[in-house]
Each structure stands twice: as structure tokens, then as C-alpha cells.
Symmetry: C2
Subunit: 340 residues, 2 copies
């Protein structure tokens, strides 16, 4: 058993006895504005620039940033800064597994950070390629540092844009959660791609990329190093996945040229989604190998974008069977043909 220095327990990780899935119970996040009788999270008020906690994060009680990238145009100005989440879902504690009756739980140890962009009103699809690559560089720099912490098993980087996508603050920001466990759906994907590799000697994602490039039916955008397509078996209508064409398990080892190509394709796809679908709210997240990456050479990292065009209802919640009424072929055609 390893003792983590910071013993200020913020949350609890609980394991589902049947599925093995994990839940983070983080009551301190209740200190955020929260009303019990609010029927819909969408009724929250949008916050103005004046009251925005991310305009000047330090003034609003955020501590010293863990990373600051300066603006190209004005060296006195920050362009991207990373701070600890003021209402973190993860914090200190011990790694020890505890029990309550038949149940298993642990302290929610880990790090929860916010990646803040300078401009309150600039949605990510409005960033220049230069600005986008600065954001990607911030993700990578923080990932590399957090992955050195011995108690971290997986680092999730994600972006929620808009209230209906779960962003409680309008000001554009991404989040980084360094977790002490490998999340269940990452574990499933790792196992699935390992099984495919054992059977065929090939990377399942490389096989898909090859087929999509040939068939072209679901491809949305392509550049020298990356490809974006709507997946054959998708999780949501208008879902887009971006893959490096060269097999690579880990996103954090991109070259400068790869960062540029990745920023280019991410910008292009977000612009197309915004134009074709009427500026929808969206989520995106990176799927990359867990931090002990030498075990996961069969994996192929990627980014998934989910525009908010539907609701997970009883069927999806009750069975995990996804039902979509727009095929990935139709969605890809619409997005591919959207001029940006």
C-alpha cells in the first residue's frame, strides 16, 4: 500500500458489484451552484464575461496555474492556462481498497484540471490553426507531467461545449482527469483490440482505417497524417472519429508536424459540424493507451467528437444498444460536402 501525501479526501470511487464499473461520488462538487428542484440542467443561466470565473482565474480563487502558454501577438497575455478544478472530482487519500458490507470502495485519488482558453466568446471551431495547436500542446504537456505520478493509471482529456453537453461555464475550457483506475470502456476497447491482434496479427483500427480509405463512404476529411470518418458502428448520430494514419498507441508522443496536422483536422471537422448542423453543442474526448503504455502497443489512439443531436433515452440507458436514424454514410456525406 502506497501513501499519497495529500490526505484531504475529496471523493470516493465505488465499484459496481455486478458490472465491475466505477463511479466517482464527489459531494464537494455540490458546492457548485446546484438547485434540487431545477427540472432541467439546461435552465441554468448563462454567465456573462463580468462574472466569468475563467476571465481571470486567479482573481476568482483558482490557484497558480500548472501551465501557461503565452499569446503569440502579446507576450504579456496568456493564451492558454491550466489550473486545478475549483470543485475537483478527485483529490488526495490512500490507494487502499475498503469495504462496506459486500461493496468495494477506494478514496478518489487523482488530479482534476481545467484547460482555459483566453477568449470568452471563441468556440473551438473559431480558433486559428495556430491557436488550436497551442491547445493541443497544452494537453500534451499536462499529460506528460501527470503521467509521471505513480498512482495514475489513466488520463482522460475531454471538452464539453455548451450547456446541453454538460459545460456549466460558457467560457471555452477543456478538462483533464488523471484517474487511479483504467476506466471500464477503455478496458473493454483495450481487450477488444488485443483479441483482434491475437487473432489476426493486426491492429483493428489500422484495418478499419485502410478499409475506410478504400471505401470512402464514411470519410469526412483527410490530411497528410490524419483521417476523420464517421464510424460504421457508431455511438451516436453524426459521431466523428479522428485517427493518426500511422499506428500509434499514445497521443502524447506526437511530433511537431503531427500536432499541426492534428490541429488542422480537428479544426476542419469542428467547422463542418458547426456549419452543417447549426452550431450544436458537442463533446469530444481523447482515447489513448493507459499510462503504462508498453503493455498496450496493439492500441491506436484517436479523438471522438459527439455533436449533441440526440438524447440517450430508455433503450440506450437500459441496454447500451444505440439507435440512430441517420446512417454514418449519410452523416459523412453531409459533413464531407459542407464547405468551410
Amino acid at each position: 500500500m502506497k501513501i499519497i501525501k495529500n490526505n484531504n479526501k475529496i471523493s470516493e470511487l465505488r465499484k459496481d458489484l455486478v458490472s465491475g464499473n466505477w463511479v466517482i461520488i464527489a459531494p464537494k462538487r455540490m458546492q457548485r451552484p446546484f438547485r434540487l428542484k431545477e427540472t432541467s440542467p439546461l435552465k441554468r443561466l448563462r454567465n456573462s464575461i463580468k462574472n466569468c470565473p475563467f476571465e481571470n482565474p486567479q482573481l476568482f480563487g483558482h490557484g497558480e496555474p500548472s501551465l501557461v502558454l503565452k499569446s503569440e501577438k502579446n507576450k504579456n497575455q496568456w493564451a492558454v492556462q491550466v489550473v486545478k478544478n475549483k470543485y475537483p472530482a478527485l483529490g488526495g487519500g490512500t490507494q487502499k481498497t475498503k469495504h462496506e458490507g459486500p461493496y468495494e470502495l477506494r478514496d478518489g485519488i487523482g488530479i482534476h484540471e481545467v484547460v482555459i482558453l483566453r477568449d470568452h466568446n471563441k468556440n473551438l471551431y473559431q480558433l486559428s490553426n495556430k491557436e488550436m495547436s497551442e491547445l493541443v500542446r497544452a494537453y500534451i504537456l499536462r499529460y506528460q507531467e501527470l503521467s509521471l505520478l505513480s498512482y495514475i493509471a489513466y488520463i482522460s482529456i475531454f471538452h464539453n461545449s455548451g450547456l446541453s453537453a454538460g459545460a456549466s461555464i460558457d467560457h471555452p475550457h477543456s478538462q483533464i482527469m488523471a484517474l487511479p483506475i483504467i476506466p471500464p470502456n477503455v478496458e473493454h476497447s483495450i481487450r477488444g483490440s488485443l483479441n483482434f491482434h491475437r487473432k489476426t496479427g493486426k491492429c483493428v483500427h489500422c484495418v478499419m482505417i485502410d478499409f475506410e480509405k478504400k471505401s470512402k463512404k464514411r470519410v469526412i476529411f483527410e490530411n497528410k497524417k490524419f483521417i476523420a470518418f464517421s464510424p460504421f458502428a457508431l455511438n451516436q448520430a453524426f459521431e466523428v472519429r479522428i485517427f493518426p494514419k500511422k499506428h500509434s498507441p499514445q497521443f502524447e508522443f506526437m511530433s511537431v508536424e503531427e500536432i499541426e496536422c492534428f490541429s488542422d483536422i480537428l479544426s476542419a471537422v469542428l467547422k463542418k459540424i458547426s456549419k452543417a448542423l447549426g452550431d450544436p453543442d458537442y463533446n469530444f474526448f481523447i482515447h489513448t493507451a493507459p499510462v503504462a503504455a508498453f503493455y498496450y502497443t496493439h492500441y491506436h489512439w484517436h479523438l471522438e467528437i459527439l455533436p449533441k443531436k440526440g438524447i440517450q433515452a430508455g433503450l440506450e440507458l437500459g441496454t447500451d444498444v444505440i439507435m440512430v436514424s441517420v446512417s454514418p454514410e449519410d452523416a459523412a456525406k453531409i459533413l464531407r460536402n459542407t464547405k468551410i
Copy 2:
């Protein structure tokens, strides 16, 4: 290979190459009112009684009902009727597995029905116990008939209440989907409970129920035959699960007394949720054993209720790790103490 009579292919089931999960691609559902540039599904207009397709389902082009339960008070009036979904996600086709490059797909064979309640304005929590037990009886009768179809592997019964819970029509209705596959998360639960049974000789759900009854911390309501509690490792804040106290894998074999007790506890919990949380939208669904039930004697059926009090954002979508800021103990206390 078995040929299904109705060869009118309505949808496609596609298998994810990595996870093994299934997706239903149902383009015919696009014929429902749908706008590409609608930024949020919540902006749809509510439909008035006059234009409601469920006020007189046959007048609005629904075919003959597969089940009609008459009103107690007025024998000329229907109280519950079940019709085929006008925009079904499942239909005819063959059971044969096909391939497109490396991918696997099948015709989406199955049955998609709608269970319609008579009163346009009566949310389920406003039903009398008598009316609720009629609804439960409709679920059971349709389940029993559909489970006789040789090509059906699992029947999902669910209820979406309100736009933010994915209901596209206000008029209270539930849905029944008879699927040709066992859904991934049902498969995981079956496997998880089987592993527990092999290790301990006990039903994992019976063990949980025993512990919850003793600890009382998460119990919300209890009657002679059923218990409702907020699960230790939940999928969403304010989630409630209702279990029969007696071990039983299959919901469709309830006795008359059990139907009454089940309707009583479902009514009570929905009333408490509505009162404590400000009449939120919600989903519920039944988890029961797959139709070839003799294989699944270790399973324990239950109903899950998910009030819409949060949004699945980037973390949940990207990792399946759920983050909640209200513990199940707090949620249970609030609901338990809500007078109805």
C-alpha cells in the same frame, strides 16, 4: 439460417469491431419530424391534444392494436392500448450475418411497440394504483406473447417521460423492443452475476438487498414484496432501483399480489421523485433475464428509474466512469423523507 416471413427490411444491426457492442441504424425513423439544423432536441414544440397521434392512435394511422385493456369506469373506453410503432427501429429481414469489409452486420429483425395510456395529461406518477397495475399487466401480456417468437433474444421495456428524457411525444407512453440479440450491458450484468454466483453460491442482488435492508442508509420505500433503494455504485444521481425481495429472474411471472405490490412501489417512488425534485423528466426500464430464461436462474430482475438531473458529459461519454455530486445516501434520505 432461419427465414423470417416479413422480409421488409427496416433497419440494420451493426457490430462494433472493437467493443462487440451493437448499433441499430434505422433510417426510416428519419421520416419522423427531424431538422438537421436544430441545435437541441429540447427546442421541439410540445404537441397539443388536438394534434396528438396517441389520442386516437387508429385515426392517426396506427394499425389495429395488439392489446387493448378496457377502462374500469367506462367499458366502451380503452385504458391502455399497445400498437406497433409507426416509425419502428426493428422490422423484418433475415437472421443471417453479413459483412462489409472487416465489419459485421445483420438485418434489424424484431418488434417495436408502443404502450399508450388513455389520458394525455396524466404523468405516470399521477396514476391510481389500479391504473398503474393495468399498465404493468399490459407490459406482462405483451412480453409473454413476444417472447414466443423464435428469433427474439431479449425484450426491453422502457418509459421515457418528457422531452429531455427523449420522449418525442408528450402523451404518456412506454415502449417495448423485442430484439434479436442480447444487449451488451445485459450480457455484462448476466456475466457479472453468474461470476458472483459461481464464487459464492449466492445471487449478487439478493446479497445487496439483504445488506440494504440491514444498513437502511439507501432504502427509499419498502412493501411486502418489493424494495426500492438508491444503489451504492449508481449510474446517475438520484437513480432508484426496485427489486422483488424474493429471488426471481423473470419479471413476466409475477403473481397478482406481486403485480399489486410492484405497482404500489413504482407509484410511490415516482411520486417521491416528482415532489422532491420538482417534477423532473425521467426514464425507467426493466432489466429481466433474456427470453431463454432457464439459462439465467442466477439473475434477479429489477426496474431502474433515472430522473433527468444531470448530463452525461465528456468524462462519462469517454470513459463510462460516472461522476455524481449527490451520494446515494443523501439522495435516499431526501426521497425517503419526502411525504407523498
